[in-house]
Each structure stands twice: as structure tokens, then as C-alpha cells.
């Protein structure tokens, strides 16, 4: 995450060497990407990393399905098989029925779904997304974010997601790196950044942000063997999810994945966490 011109696009293009770095190293699965020959680099791009672009980068002379099948086609997958695969991913992103449309006939949100399906059809473990949702209007954008989070729950890929929007970073990121002037300012989990901003620059973002959405209840709960609460939320609930519950309950329990209670929170704890970095 970083402001315009902070070097996000430059950084992410190093991962698949669309830009050659002048110094440093890039290691993917223990292998140095910089050591790859041109041929190996092409193979690496075909099999290891897929990319979704801010400006979509769809091929305007191809239909939607041929766009999605482009990755497998470059890799040499047969005609039938790649169309089958493409159709599956088109359905996954909710574009069934548009297989034979031209990409320019689609709306921005639909085009980016094609971009996403095209990257997913590559079957790579890593996906790079450079401001993939920035060109979309807020409502469609929020829908795409939800869809990405939902997809990720079943896919479990490594997604490097670039954004200039701190809220978006908090919503979809497991770990966030904040960039400024081409240098990393802080790396951490969303709540680490919200609760302990490393410097004034990051504090500025944090001040603007919806903290109730950023902070997980598990990071502020009272841990340990406490008495069972009347009402509980799962471990990955955020403050905004529990706030309405305090109207009825004094304590809200927090459950782990197996449904055992691992802690509890009160309204006071939540308010204190939300208030900590507010402007004075």
C-alpha cells in the first residue's frame, strides 16, 4: 500500500521481472528470479506468477473466453482443454453468458472480472494484482473485494495485492507493507499497523481509516479460561462485527476455529482500541 508515485507498480513488476531491478534480489520458492535465463523467465511467468492489471490489459481482438484461455494457450494446452478450463473460471467470477462477447463491450467491473479469471486460469500459486480494483466505482469495487476474499478462502494462493487505498488494504490484506518514496515504511498485520503505526506518515493514514473494520477482536480480547459467554463471535470477527452486540450483552465471547471459547471482550475494550489513535 502506498500513495501515488510511491513505487508500488515498480515494486510489483520486479516480481515477474517486467522491470529489471538494479540491485537486490527476488526469491520465489527458494530460487532467485534474477538468475533465470530468458527462456527460464518465460517459463516462470507461464507457470509460477499470474498478473492482474489496473488497466485490465485484455486482448481486444479476442472474445472473453479466448482472453481467459490465453495463459493456457501460451503454455501449449490443447484447444478443448483450455476452453473448458476458461469456461470454468468465467463461471467462477460470475460472467457466464458473456463467453463470446468482445471485451470492449463489457463494463469496467466485468472487464476486471475477465482479468481476474484470466489470471486464475493460469493455475499459478502466486498472483500479482496491481491496483486491480482502482479503476472501478466504489460499489462494484467493494463487490470485487468480497469476491476476491471469498475466492481466496478456497484457493489459498499467494496474492500480492497493490492498492493506494488503506481501507482496501485493511479489508483484504493478511500482511501489509506500506511504501513511501520507493522504500518500505512498515510491514505487519493490519491491526499491528493500525495500533502501532511506525511513523507519522502511517499515522496519517490510520487517522482516516475505519478502525472498527481494521481491528480483529482477537487482538484486543481478554484471553484465557473465562466463564462461557452468552453470545460469541468467531476468531476472525472485527470490531465492527461485535459493536452492535453490546447493546444486548456486556461480554461477547471469541471462539477459535473448533468452536471453543478462547477469550472475551467488553464494549470498554473495543472503545479503548478504537479511540487510541484518534486525533486529540
Amino acid at each position: 500500500m502506498g500513495l501515488s508515485g510511491s513505487g508500488k507498480s515498480t515494486l510489483i513488476r520486479h516480481v515477474n521481472r517486467l522491470i529489471e531491478p538494479t540491485a537486490g534480489e527476488i526469491v520465489v520458492e527458494g530460487n532467485s528470479v534474477l538468475a533465470l535465463s530468458l527462456d527460464e523467465l518465460r517459463k516462470y511467468r507461464r507457470t509460477k506468477v499470474a498478473m492482474v492489471f489496473q488497466k485490465f490489459g485484455l486482448l481486444p481482438h479476442r472474445s472473453v473466453i479466448d482472453n481467459v484461455a490465453y495463459g493456457p494457450e501460451v503454455r501449449g494446452v490443447g484447444h478443448e482443454e483450455r476452453l473448458e478450463k476458461a469456461a470454468k473460471w468465467i463461471a467462477t467470477v460470475g460472467l457466464s453468458g458473456y463467453e463470446n462477447s468482445r471485451t470492449r463491450q463489457l463494463s469496467g467491473g466485468q472487464q476486471q472480472r475477465v482479468g481476474l479469471a484470466r489470471a486464475l486460469a493460469m493455475d499459478t500459486d502466486i498472483i500479482l494484482m496491481d491496483e486491480a480494483f482502482s479503476a472501478l466505482d466504489p460499489l462494484i469495487r467493494s463487490g470485487m473485494q468480497d469476491q476476491l476474499i471469498e475466492l481466496q478462502q478456497t484457493l489459498n494462493k499467494t496474492i500480492l495485492f497493490i492498492t493506494h487505498d488503506f481501507d482496501e488494504a485493511l479489508k483484504i490484506g493478511n500482511r501489509i507493507a506500506v511504501l513511501k518514496d520507493g522504500a518500505v515504511q512498515q510491514v505487519g498485520k493490519p491491526e499491528e499497523i493500525v495500533l502501532k503505526p511506525a511513523n507519522a506518515h502511517i499515522e496519517e493514514f490510520v487517522r482516516e481509516v475505519n478502525k472498527a473494520r481494521a481491528i480483529h477482536v482477537r487482538s484486543i480480547m481478554e484471553r484465557g479460561d473465562v466463564e462461557l459467554c452468552e453470545y460469541s463471535v468467531p476468531m476472525n470477527a472485527r470490531c465492527e462485527d461485535v459493536l452492535p452486540l453490546f447493546a444486548e450483552h456486556e461480554w461477547v465471547g471469541v471462539l477459535d476455529d473448533d468452536g471453543r471459547q478462547i477469550g472475551r471482550v467488553t464494549a470498554k475494550q473495543v472503545i479503548r482500541a478504537l479511540a487510541r489513535h484518534s486525533p486529540t
Binding site: 515477474n16 523467465l41 499470474a50 492489471f53 490489459g57 486482448l59 481486444p60 481482438h61 501460451v74 463491450q105
Partner: protein, 290 residues
């Protein structure tokens, strides 16, 4: 008067002697090298002349229908061709059409690879651009004379002169079309692990096709505009009728043959333009109307 600084006479003599030497010693070689061109032209011409007129009319009208998907263009083409027939210009028109087609085909075969290499290397572009400028601005008679000296009057120098004049726009537009492909699309293609050949044939050429087809349109038009000059050195056809009309002060003959050239120009201009529009629609520059 500009003062005489050097004596250019020896230089001019050297060039003339050099050319004569080339004609004497290499003339046969050049002729052999140009032989395939002559065969191409002959084959097209024989085919066009031996094909019954109604078949040619039907084919061209059909192509016009395919290119435009409407009825206006086929009607225009039909009437242009019938005009040629009614005015007793059919055979001459076929000869001229053959020259234009042979020049266009050769220009396509040569220009597109040259355009591709220009689009890929700034050095090649710097080298070729002045050559193209020269080909387009040098009065055609200047290179007509040496080509006639080398090949003798006839169809070969006429064809070569036509190609020299008609090819540059196609080279330029191929280069331009390939270079103006959206860089975002090119980058995306690169990110998918394509090699340069896959990018050229899978992305660049398909997206540059409308521009390339505009180049082909230009080439056909410029080839047609050379027919009168070409007929001075033995190309025959409609151009020759125009020349005879001028020579014998028969205004009508010149006028009808001239209008015949216009009719051919209309046929090929509209057909190639319609194909270009269709290509544009296909890559989404314009949404399909229907």
C-alpha cells in the same frame, strides 16, 4: 549565379559510365532476378483476361458484399465494372488491374517484414525512413530511366517503378500500427510468458491490422495513380489509352480511359476501406452497428 566550386562533369560521367557498365555486365542478372515478378504479373494478367467478364463482375461484387455487409457498395462496384465493359475498356482495365494487383502483392510481401523490423529497432527505422522519403519524393522518371536501361522497356520496369512508388505508405503504416499497439496490452502479454514471435503474431499484428489495411488501401491507390507513367514504358492498359488520347488529341479517348481508371480506383478503394472498417469493428474500436 552560384560560383562554380567543383567541376561536376567528371562525377556525372562516372555515374553514367557506371550505370552503363552495370547494364552491360549485370543486365542479364537483374533480368533473371526480376523474372519471378514478371511471371507473377503475367499469371495475374492471363487469369484476369481469360476469365469471363461476368465471373469477374460477380466475384468483385461478391467481395464488396462481404466487405461491407450492405448492398450499397456492391451496387457501386457493379456499375463501375459495367461502365468499364460498356466503354470497351474491359481488356485494358484487366491489364491495369493486373499491374496494380501484382504491385500490391509484391509491396505487401516486401513492406510488412520491413515495417516489422522498423517497429522493433530504432536503428533500422532511422536507416529506412530516409529511403522511404526518397522513394516517395524522387520524381519517378529519375529511377524510371535506369530501370528501363537495365530491363529494357516493357512490363518489368513498369512494375518495379509502380512498386517503388506504391510500397512506402504500407511500410510506414505497418511500422506505425505495430508501434501504436496499447503498451498495457503488450505488457500483459509479456507477463504471460510469451516470446516476441508469439507477441508479434498473437497481439501486435492482429491489433495493427486496421492500420496495415489502411496501408494496403494507400498502396492500391498509389499503384493506380502510376498507371499512366507506367504505360509510357510499356505497361499497356488504361494508361496507354490515356497516353494515346493525349498524343492524338482525342479528348474522348483520354477522358473515357481516365474515367476507367477512376472506376477501378473506386472499386478497390471502397473494398479495401470496408475491410479495414470491419477489422476495426472486430478489435472493438467501434462497436458493431447491428
Amino acid at each position: 549565379m552560384f560560383p562554380q566550386l567543383i567541376d561536376t562533369k567528371p562525377l556525372r560521367r562516372a555515374i553514367d559510365d557506371g550505370l552503363n557498365w552495370v547494364v552491360r555486365n549485370w543486365g542479364d542478372g537483374f533480368e533473371a532476378a526480376a523474372y519471378p515478378l514478371l511471371m507473377l504479373l503475367k499469371a495475374i494478367e492471363d487469369l484476369l483476361i481469360s476469365t469471363p467478364w461476368w465471373l469477374i463482375v460477380a466475384i468483385l461484387t461478391g467481395i464488396a458484399r462481404l466487405a461491407s455487409r450492405s448492398w450499397k457498395l456492391p451496387v457501386i462496384v457493379l456499375f463501375s465494372l459495367l461502365f468499364l465493359g460498356v466503354m470497351e475498356l474491359w481488356k485494358d482495365a484487366m491489364t491495369t488491374m493486373a499491374l496494380m494487383l501484382a504491385a500490391t502483392i509484391t509491396a505487401i510481401v516486401v513492406s510488412i517484414p520491413v515495417g516489422v523490423s522498423m517497429s522493433r529497432s530504432a536503428r533500422v527505422r532511422q536507416l529506412i525512413t530516409p529511403v522511404l522519403d526518397l522513394m516517395q519524393t524522387l520524381p519517378s522518371f529519375v529511377y524510371l530511366i535506369p530501370t528501363v536501361m537495365i530491363f529494357g522497356p516493357g512490363k518489368i520496369p513498369a512494375l518495379i517503378a509502380t512498386i517503388v512508388y506504391a510500397a512506402p505508405p504500407l511500410v510506414r503504416l505497418t511500422d506505425l500500427g505495430l508501434r501504436s499497439v496499447d503498451p498495457a496490452v503488450m505488457e500483459a502479454s509479456r507477463a504471460f510468458g510469451t516470446n516476441p514471435t508469439q507477441r508479434l503474431f498473437g497481439v501486435q499484428i492482429p491489433l495493427a491490422l486496421p492500420t496495415i489495411s489502411a496501408g494496403i488501401n494507400q498502396t492500391t491507390m498509389m499503384a493506380l495513380s502510376m498507371v499512366v507513367i507506367a504505360s509510357m514504358i510499356g505497361a499497356g492498359g488504361l494508361g496507354y489509352q490515356v497516353l494515346q488520347g493525349i498524343g492524338r488529341l482525342e479528348v474522348s479517348r483520354g477522358l473515357f480511359a481516365g474515367l476507367g481508371i477512376v472506376a477501378l480506383a473506386i472499386v478497390f478503394d471502397r473494398i479495401t476501406q470496408s475491410f479495414g472498417k470491419q477489422l476495426q469493428g472486430r478489435i472493438g474500436w467501434r462497436r458493431p452497428d447491428k
